[in-house]
Symmetry: C2
Subunit: 191 residues, 2 copies
DNA sequence: CGCGACGTTGATTTGCCTCAACGATTGTGG
DNA sequence: CCACAATCGTTGAGGCAAATCAACGTCGCG
């Protein structure tokens, strides 16, 4: 709870009363590891703020191969934004990788809150902008850097994840097969 | 001018007075084709709304290869968002591909406007969210689809651009070399 | 006219994938 | 608490999509 309020206040002012009002519109939930919060093909109506644990979003293409879009751990939001904004069925799965506690903000409550606390527009604007910049960088990295370079960047940016998530999922995030990732890692260690 | 106001009103209400106030904080500029609006290594302080013409943003990696991040034509915003938000020197070039007219919104004026017209927070939040969703899709496409599929998607999404931009830049956008793109296109036409 | 950017085509190379087999680890039901 | 299955990581052989390098024709433009 406090971590979310602190996170908002980092980007947009919020009085204690307003923080309380915000929290009234949310719900806290706990999930076991490997719970599915959002299923591809359904309409996503919620956004999740992780207070503890670890979650991933991914989609499965024609060939039955998983591609990981995001990891989210403590202090991160996660959702299927395409489905959430458009109201159409999405392509993403969202699944816990550890026992996880989340604060749930439904789309309906979020719309209400935008009216009652207009400064939330600012907060979520800044979040979207930061996320956009991160995606642009990742996109450019995928186009111009080798798998090795992408892995090195991943290690620098998310050092804590390396021990927490199975290796094949890191492979999926950086965009290679588990087999190739294993060989690549072996080669990198030998130096 | 009107196209920008109409664009804002599509996402967030704006009275005629407010529209006028907005425009006071902007500036209109005309550029010849191949003008450089933003240079990698410098800090980006402006955002551009294209009223006519065509612009691209791209970066150049170690190997002296250009990678196109975006095309923007009439009705689109373009900027180096990383540099703009962080205040640090960016990696992007922004350059016109045709004679182009833009409405310039400087970062300083934008901050002022957020205070005077808080509903702009909403407008730019929605823009950022939409752009974010588009980037996520493009990222997933780059990881899981072949160059042919990416080109087909490009044709569907930006049919008007195909005649307007040199082929090698389309190749760069979808993430292949000009040589490979040429061969691929030949093969696709033969069916 | 001549130069430089563009598009094409061919030969060769390479980064990464596919498929398959095998040990190690995890976890789960009896 | 053990046995067995399932998942995970590793390794090897072979294949393919796309890159690289090089040569050449075309066109727009100063």
């Amino acid at each position: 709870m406090q971590s979310l309020i602190a996170h908002i206040q980092k980007h947009s002012p919020l009085t204690p009363d307003e923080a309380a009002l915000f929290l009234v519109h949310t719900e806290t939930r706990k999930y076991k590891s490997k719970s599915v919060l959002q299923h591809a093909g359904t309409v996503c109506t919620e956004t999740y703020f992780i207070t503890s644990g670890l979650v991933r979003s991914f989609y499965i293409n024609d060939n039955i191969v998983e591609h990981i879009l995001h990891f989210a751990c403590e202090g991160w939001w996660i959702s299927d934004m395409y489905s959430l904004f458009s109201g159409k069925p999405g392509d993403l799965f969202i699944e816990t990788l550890e026992d996880t506690e989340v604060i749930v903000l439904s789309k309906a409550q979020q719309e209400l809150l935008y009216q009652q606390l207009p400064q939330l527009e600012r907060y979520f604007r800044i979040l979207a902008e930061n996320s956009l910049v991160a995606h642009q960088e990742r996109l450019m990295d995928n186009m111009s850097r080798s798998a090795e370079e992408r892995f090195e960047k991943f290690c620098k940016r998310y050092p804590s994840l390396i021990q927490r998530v199975p290796q094949k999922q890191i492979a999926s995030y950086i965009g290679v097969t588990p087999e190739f990732f294993s060989k690549m890692k072996g080669k990198m260690l030998r130096k």
